[in-house]
């Protein structure tokens, strides 16, 4: 779906916008592997867990990128809760750790992010997310901040479309758009576009009882294709 995640409830997107955690009512666990441009050193491995707790929900995620000479890991602990019937908010605390071989220093930092999600009516979703709104004077190394906002609409029972904008400090604004179509029961087709590197994305998903299987592909105008696969288990 063009990497849309700020307004579309789902297991992985709830880690993109913690407010979406409030939409999760099940105990879910997931694993994901993303490979950039068929280079194994540029792989990202992620595991996540969402735990419902009364009306709110908790999320834990661990992500690892890189190879033996350069590794970047992150751990996030998030919480999302509904504040009213059609409005929810969430926050997350992140810990980043970067390990480089040789004489380079390792670095670590802590930051936070927050998001909101609301439905003006039953067909429209709106999400807003801020990452790292912390002044850089409070840390040793500069960490970029970002702001994302997006809206999605349920065009029919089987079709959802959305668009979002993201801007990260010192970078250009990125516009993403995409849709998800459900052609048959438990089968999902997805496509999208991102203005970053003029990237087109395609994906499909299939729900098999308690397991959701997803595959995704994204093009890069020069470097090739990024592929990703994930499994999400409904434990309870």
């Amino acid at each position: 779906m063009g990497s849309l995640c700020v307004m579309r409830p789902g297991f992985w997107s709830s880690f993109g916008n913690p407010a979406l955690l409030s939409e999760n009512s099940s105990l879910l666990a997931g694993v994901n592997y993303e490979n950039r441009f068929n280079i194994c050193e540029l792989g990202t491995r992620t595991i996540g867990l969402t735990i419902p707790a009364r009306s709110s929900s908790l999320g834990i995620i661990y992500s690892h990128f890189g190879y033996s000479d350069f590794r970047r890991s992150s751990i996030g602990l998030s919480c999302g809760m509904p504040l009213s019937e059609n409005f929810s908010a969430g926050a997350r605390v992140d810990y980043f750790f970067e390990n480089t071989s040789g004489d380079y220093d390792n670095s670590q930092s802590v930051t936070c992010e927050a998001g909101i999600f609301f439905r003006p009516n039953e067909n429209i979703n709106i999400g807003i997310h801020i990452f790292n709104p912390v002044p850089n004077s409070l840390r040793k190394r500069i960490m970029p901040s970002s702001l994302r906002a997006g809206a999605g609409i349920k065009l029919s029972k089987v079709l959802f479309a959305g668009a979002e904008a993201e801007m990260t400090t010192a970078r250009k604004i990125i516009i993403r758009t995409g849709f998800e179509y459900e052609p048959g029961k438990n089968l999902f087709l997805r496509a999208g576009f991102s203005s970053e590197n003029t990237s087109f994305t395609f994906g499909l998903g299939y729900r098999l009882k308690v397991v959701m299987i997803d595959l995704g592909f994204a093009t890069h105008e020069k470097l090739g294709i990024t592929s990703a696969a994930s499994l999400v288990f409904r434990i309870k």
Partner: protein, 665 residues
């Protein structure tokens, strides 16, 4: 020059200042009895000011709009009075709209709900939404028992940047503003005290006493006041702004004298003004004697001290700037008689300004060839305002003693309630000077401009408004950074979709062409045409009474330099139900190639103050403002803003703290 670590001495100093502010507050508290109304309108004020100043290049006019709107918020317009001078306080309405409101009330009776305003012919929904926050629907006439109660309103703003001080400053590194207004029936009075960053206490003092009547004597003001007659070519010390391209109507010929409550230290009168009316005749007279700032030249032979130029920023925070303060006395006086018929108003204005020192600009610079010279300037003008059916004609012609002239002629046509069209022609010769005049135009000097503007506003479909305008201007003589006669073009298109009262979507395209000197490699500089394109998209959503959100994206591109700027911001406003606390939060990230592609981001701010930072470079800007309501008669506001700029991998941060204490009786 900048030191970033405040010492304990600085903290003691700040405490001393705060104690002084508290002392003033307590002094005011024990001198006056209380009555009050107070509604928080800071968001509406920011939105409306931004809309009105959308096509302005700087933030000066927006600041003026904000001040005027705060004045309206403090004393809302009693719309059911059906009095022209009262309804004309909605400065963004045209005479056409004012007349329609009066006709509506006289034929249909009092307006009983704010929603009814949008049904008045000539008032579209957008204009109605601008009016509603500042409208008092009460039908009680002025002078009844309620208005005879003593009312007063006092505020103190305190602004400083922690950790920053400039050693060249002659005063403390903070800004202080105190305003006080008292009203008793037809009488009112007030004062304003201001100290800018680095100035001595108190650099600017202003005050007034005002009487408003309904007989022959309509208004008398002693002290500081502002005036406007007709289109403002001869006298306009009120709003001096450019021409917005996408508003429904332009303010037209209207005579206003009113107390001066702003903190602009230059463009106002100090003395006495009175307005009289008898049947269809009206007369306004004024006299002013005021010291003004200027840069003085002392010739080597000491033959005569002359003024090289006027100094208008109002900032006196260094020794050299302090030497420019109040160096020259200006005496101005004038008279404006009017005749008002049912659909026609005719008026004349004559004014003269005398300076204690002669003005002698450097005429060796060709740009200054037409600049004012001497110590006496007089201007005579005639203006009119004519309504013919659904058409409004208005114009003014002015001539000054140096045989230079200015003409402005406008027409507004409303073929239907859903469509409004405006055309405005103006010609101001390069040598035309009126020191307190400013007609509709885009050149800040108020002269050297010939232009034609056309615009329309259309309710294209239910909830969908389209407005567009174009303005073509020629500058027959040289101007700042342009060493040739030049021209400019402005084009703007705006779409507003307002599906319900909680949601609004705006999309604005603005293109501006201008001509500037090209940096010369050798010899005479050439001329370069600059194209400045701006796209703005904004969504506002009010989720419920406690929470509202606004998202906005700005994109700007300058050609031929190909410099671009983009900003993305999110506003969240939240108020608690059980405790009297309200929060405004903004997070904005921006990225511009250089200063030319900077982006202005209007911010909610303290009443009586404004903040429109120019975002340039790469970084973030965020602020948090909190308002604590202290009972029914006081409030405390605190705003903390921080700007981070990334430069060669280093983040430089500047922060600012603003504090306001406000009471109303």
């Amino acid at each position: 020059m900048l030191a970033h670590v405040p010492g304990p001495g600085f903290i003691y100093y700040m405490c001393g200042i705060m104690l002084k502010a508290c002392f003033i507050s307590c002094f005011t508290l024990i001198t006056v009895l209380c009555f009050a109304q107070n509604i928080d309108l800071s968001e509406e004020i920011t939105d409306i000011a931004e809309h009105l100043a959308a096509s302005e290049t700087g933030n000066e006019s927006a600041g003026l709009y904000i001040e005027q709107l705060h004045d309206l918020a403090e004393v809302p317009v009693r719309i059911n009075s059906a009095d022209e001078s009262e309804i004309s306080r909605f400065f963004f309405l045209s005479d056409f709209q004012v007349k329609n409101i009066i006709d509506y009330i006289k034929t249909s009776g009092s307006i009983v709900s704010s929603g009814e305003i949008a049904y008045i012919p000539g008032i579209d929904r957008h204009t109605a939404e601008m009016m509603i926050p500042f409208t008092d629907l009460s039908v009680s006439p002025a002078g009844n028992s309620d208005s005879l109660r003593l009312r007063s309103n006092y505020l103190t703003n305190f602004i400083f940047r922690p950790g920053e001080s400039d050693t060249s400053f002659i005063g403390g590194s903070f800004k202080l503003l105190t305003k006080y207004r008292i009203t008793l029936g037809r009488f009112s009075g007030g004062f304003a005290i201001e100290k800018d960053d680095g100035e001595k206490l108190f650099d600017f003092l202003s005050g007034y006493l005002d009487y408003t009547g309904q007989g022959i004597i309509r208004k008398v003001i002693a002290g500081d006041y502002s005036c406007r007659f007709g289109q403002g070519l001869c006298i306009n010390t009120g709003i001096r702004t450019g021409l917005p391209l996408t508003i429904a109507d332009y303010s037209t010929a209207r005579n206003v004298i009113k107390p001066y409550t702003s903190t602009n230290e230059n463009n106002f009168f100090r003395g006495l003004a009175a307005q009289f009316a008898w049947k269809i005749t009206g007369l306004t007279i004024f006299f002013s004697s005021n010291n003004i700032d200027a840069a003085v030249s002392l010739p080597a032979d000491s033959s005569m001290t002359t003024v090289e130029g006027f100094y208008e920023s109002g900032l006196h925070n260094t020794e050299s700037l302090l030497h420019k303060k109040d160096v020259m006395r200006e005496i101005s006086y004038g008279v404006s008689p009017t005749l008002s018929f049912r659909n026609l108003k005719i008026g004349f204005c004559w004014t003269e300004s005398r300076f204690s020192l002669p003005v002698s600009p450097d005429k060796n610079d060709p740009e200054n060839l037409y600049d004012f010279e001497g110590n006496l300037n007089s201007v005579l003008s005639a203006y009119y305002n004519l309504v013919i059916g659904r058409m409004l004609l208005c114009g003014e012609a002015a001539l000054n003693g140096h045989e230079n002239y200015a003409i402005a002629q406008g027409i507004t046509i409303r073929p239907s309630d859903r469509l409004s069209m405006n055309f405005l022609y103006r010609k101001y010769t390069p040598g035309y000077f009126s020191f307190h005049g400013y007609g509709p135009g885009i050149n800040s000097a108020g002269n050297n401009e010939t232009g034609l503007l056309g615009s329309f506003t259309l309710e294209a479909a239910k909830h969908l408004f389209v407005s567009a305008g174009a303005d073509i201007v020629k500058f027959p003589w040289l101007k700042y950074r342009t060493g040739y006669p030049s021209m400019a073009k402005r084009i703007e298109v705006k779409f507003s979709y307002l599906p319900d009262e909680n949601l609004s979507l705006d999309l604005t395209f603005n293109i501006r062409y201008s001509m500037l000197d090209r940096e010369p490699v050798q010899g005479i500089p050439g001329v370069e045409e600059i194209k400045n394109s701006w796209v703005k998209a904004q969504v506002k959503y009010q989720l419920n009474e406690r929470l509202s959100l606004a998202t906005r994206i700005d994109f700007r591109k300058i050609e031929p330099s190909e410099s671009t700027g983009v900003s993305f911001l999110q506003d969240v406003t939240f108020s608690f139900t059980k405790i009297p606390l309200k929060f405004w939060f903004r997070y904005c990230t921006y990225n511009t190639d250089d200063w030319d592609s900077r982006i202005y981001a209007y911010e909610n701010d303290l009443p009586g103050s404004f903040s429109i930072p120019a975002l340039s470079g790469t970084g973030t800007r965020s602020y948090l403002m909190a308002r604590w309501q202290l009972g029914k008669r006081a409030e405390l506001r605190l705003k903390y803003g921080i700007t981070s700029v990334f430069h060669y991998g280093i983040s430089e941060e500047t922060d600012e703290l603003r504090l306001q204490f406000r009471i109303w009786f």
